[in-house]
Amino acid sequence: MEHVIYNQLSYPILTYTVFLPVAGALLLLFMRNATLIRLTTLIVTVAAFIISLPLLSNFDKTSYKMQFVEKHEWIPSWGINYFIGIDGISILFIFLTTLLSVLCVLVSWKAIETKAKEFHIAILILEAGMLGVFVALDFFLFYIFWEAMLIPMFLLIGVWGGQQRVYAAIKFFLYTLAGSVLMLVGIVVLYFKGGNTLDILTLSSVRYPLQLQLWLFMAFFAAFAVKVPMFPFHTWLPDAHTEAPTAGSVVLAGVLLKMGAYGFLRFSIPMFPDATRFFMKPILILSVVGIIYGALVCLAQKDLKRLIAYSSVSHMGFVTLGIFAMNSQGVEGGILQMLNHGVITGALFLMIGIIYERTHTRQISDYGGFAGLTPWYAGFFMILTFASIGLPGMNGFIGEFLILFGAFKAQKVMGVLAATGVILGAGYMLWLYQRVFFEKTNPDWTSGHHHVRDLNLREVITLVPLIALIFWIGFYPDVCLSYMHSSVEHLIENMNTSAYAGKDGLLARHIMESF
């Protein structure tokens, strides 16, 4: 097949990366000692990270095609294959997932005391599921990974979470499941309309009738919009993020939220270009509403973690805004911002987890004066605050700039409105910083056994890779952007070859006629 580049390496690198965590999880089943379990999990996640690195160096940046492809027969009677590969859109998420998984293990070292074995098994299975979603090129395989991920995440939130964990876990599960099963029906319909195959590349090359595109777009939208989450499908997110243990929040914010946007890029846009064009404006509007609404709600939060959770709604609004601006700047900015958000918000949740271990409170009003108490912590938090706001020189700036650039090009009004989100973002983040690190010190934290320690070495090691990425991408964004150029270009080109490119009126009329 000329559409894909078969694995350039001598060993099945993607399979190793995806299934190493599963093997690790199986190994953990036979262990009893908690320290040994932690150590093994750390080694496995680090190994997965190291194994995934050759992907970055061997990736052919000039090609939009799927690379490192492996294809084996799996369920021949349904024509389903074990078909995996990555392109410029997915490669960075592999890297992000393997990196964040290592950090999750590190940050949970002391925080998880009960059922350590189950916790680490869940983390490893989750990692495999997330990697699987990004590499799957067969819809059936994709859906298996997509859904299988729910089980460990449900347990992570429900077993090791905060006060309201059970409610949050069930809400998370049911919300995502409801979206996913509609996608499942969509997938089966595609199977029949696209020629009895679930090969994502083949299905992407078929141009479906308008009406079918609309229905399928909506079915897929149900799954992806919940996952992103787009306003107004976001209500599970604050609960899940807030109640999850630190590692769960990091994975949720860092990787899980990216899957929705990834789904739009991988499925909705290439498969249903005309429907995408039709729904572009409403989605842009929802994105902008999400940006502003999320930011405003952040201003009203009393809970540290909930504030960061709502900021995700705002930031992910930027991502969908960029993607559905449908020009190369917007899409590239959107992908980059997905990565950025994973790094920054992931790091912020790590920070909150670290301080919560010491203070056992998430109420912003309980804090104050921490700049004096924990200067290192304050310094790291400062960097993350600025990165989140989008200060030039840091990665957040590049992403938001490209997105706004793309949005202006597509719809001026949207660009202007979205830009206000940046200002609100600066507002809530700086105010948060002020309330936590300056102002009066709460006397509880200076006295006796409550005395708050600054960061220890393990915690610094956890944070440094992310901080380094923030500046690296901030100063030299091409390190990420160069991977996605050809794939994004191909995506946009595919959109523009549609018969309705630039003819919104004609499209609307034909859609009306098709019903």
């Binding site: 859906y143 089980i151 449900f154 347990l155 599960f173 029906v185």
Partner: protein, 481 residues
């Protein structure tokens, strides 16, 4: 006919003969042997012999019709027999210790399991309405007794009586359907009915349709389709748990076997008509099963409603009216047998002397003291929900696929939405086990045979979820040829 050809005729029924002889041997063995383990072991060995026979008969490529075309041996019936063997063997495994705890460990118990299974096997192979009725009654009468096997428990008695009355009622419907059909076509042979409907040109006759409705009602009772499900929750709750497990798989599968056979073979010409009846039945079955299960606090009742909901999903395959659709239903039945048996096995483990262990609260904090049992229950619950990578997902995916292939996309959408609703009550079990603190120390009643049953079901549920081809190829080659 000379003797040799008659003997030859017996070969296709050898598995049934084996099962029947095992039942008789077990009855007699009970008089000599005191240890129930021996009886159970002999039973399992007998079932394995019959299983071996069925495997051998699988080798016959052509369907075999014997006893003047009243009994047929084909891939379809063979595959159902595999489900029945699995069902009876697993039931014996989970019964051994449990029946002793219930103080109802009698040899007849095992004999009755075999009589019931023989009945199911005859149903699966029935090519004639009379044989079908014969098998159905053999199965039904045995299970009535089994449901009331714990004689000293009022609720067990109630279960048996309820099951008997409503079962007798459904048998009457079946006989009515048979007599109507016979009156119109002059035959009770399924294939000949189809021919007669064609040649007499009475496919559109309302009386024929009425006959079909009577069949659906009668089979609907056995499968527990809404609105013929009233008996299920009470009987499932009152019967000994091992029998609940047995009933939720065996008679349901047998019901689907005869439903598929009668609707496809005899009334294939009325496919549009019976589909149009089954569609609303499937929808309300899924709805009632999923929604009422939400309110249950007794896990046996909850699983009863869950079993009703699953019958609704299975019906989707029948509704599509294609051999492929029927295949998906049969595939679902096999997977359901595995995961449901596994779930009931865990329920049974909680039962010990002086402790029912049937309330959801009894599962609180189970993961703390019994991580392995909880992990298994977790697998079964997610499989029943239909979350990959478990076999439950494969079962659901296949029936949805066939429903959509037949053009019932909106029905598939309704089905997936109900499966989301049903996710809640399965998750609740997981939640109780993993996310609550234990009230009191739970002691599990385990035995080797129980561990065996759990291991088999759990491994199969995961294995078939990851490598569905193992089952798919078998079921497809059995039914589609």
């Amino acid at each position: 006919m000379d003797t040799t050809s008659k003997l030859f005729d017996l070969i296709p029924v050898l598995p049934e003969l084996t099962m029947m002889s095992v039942a008789l041997v077990l009855l007699l063995l009970d008089l000599i042997v005191k240890k129930k383990e021996v009886i159970a072991l002999v039973g399992i060995a007998g079932a394995l012999v019959a299983f071996y026979g069925t495997c051998k008969l699988y080798g016959l490529t052509e369907p075999q019709s014997v006893f003047a075309n009243m009994f047929v041996l084909d891939g379809y019936s063979n595959f159902f027999k595999l489900i029945f063997y699995l069902n009876v063997i697993l039931t014996i495994c989970i019964s051994l210790k449990y029946m002793a705890v219930e103080k109802a460990s009698l040899g007849e118990y095992y004999a009755l399991l075999f009589f019931a299974t023989t009945g199911m096997m005859i149903m699966a192979s029935a090519a004639d309405l009379i044989v079908l009725y014969l098998g159905l009654e053999l199965m039904a009468l045995s299970t009535y007794i089994l449901a009331g096997f714990v004689r000293k428990q009022p609720r067990s008695n109630e279960a048996a009586l309820k099951y008997f009355f409503l079962g007798a009622f459904s048998s009457a419907f079946l006989l009515y359907g048979i007599s109507l059909t016979y009156g119109l076509t002059g035959t009770t042979n399924l294939k000949e009915i189809a021919v007669a409907l064609q040649t007499l040109n009475i496919t559109g006759s309302p009386i024929v349709f009425l006959g079909v409705i009577f069949f659906i009602v009668a089979f609907g009772f056995k499968i527990a389709l809404v609105p013929f499900h009233m008996w299920a929750p009470d009987v499932y709750e009152g019967a000994p748990t091992s029998i609940t497990a047995f009933m939720s798989v065996g008679p349901k599968a047998a019901g689907f076997a005869v439903m598929g056979r009668v609707l496809f073979d005899a009334f294939g010409g009325l496919q549009v008509q019976w589909s149009s009846i089954l569609i609303p039945v499937a929808v309300i079955t899924m709805a009632v099963g999923s929604i009422i299960a939400l309110a249950q606090t007794n896990i046996k009742r909850m699983l009863a409603y869950s079993s009703i909901a699953h019958a609704g999903y299975m019906l989707l395959g029948v509704i599509s009216g294609t051999p492929g659709g029927l295949t998906s239903t049969v595939n679902y039945l096999m997977i359901y047998a595995l995961m449901n048996m596994g779930a009931f096995a865990v329920v049974i483990m909680l039962r010990r002397e002086g402790f029912q262990g049937e309330n959801l609260e009894d599962y609180m904090g189970l993961a703390k003291g019994h991580p392995l049992a909880s992990a298994l229950m977790l697998i079964f619950m997610f499989s029943l929900t239909g979350i990959p990578p478990t076999a439950g997902f494969i079962g659901k995916f296949y029936v949805f696929m066939e429903a959509i292939r037949a053009g019932h996309t909106s029905l598939a959408v309704i089905a997936v939405m109900f499966s989301v609703i049903s996710a809640f009550f399965y998750l609740r079990v997981v939640m109780y086990m993993y996310m609550k603190d234990p009230k009191e120390e739970v002691v599990l009643t385990t035995s080797n045979s129980m561990n065996f049953a759990l291991a088999v079901t759990a491994v199969m549920v995961i294995l078939l979820g990851v490598f569905p081809s193992l089952l798919l190829d078998l079921v497809r080659s059995s039914i589609l040829g």
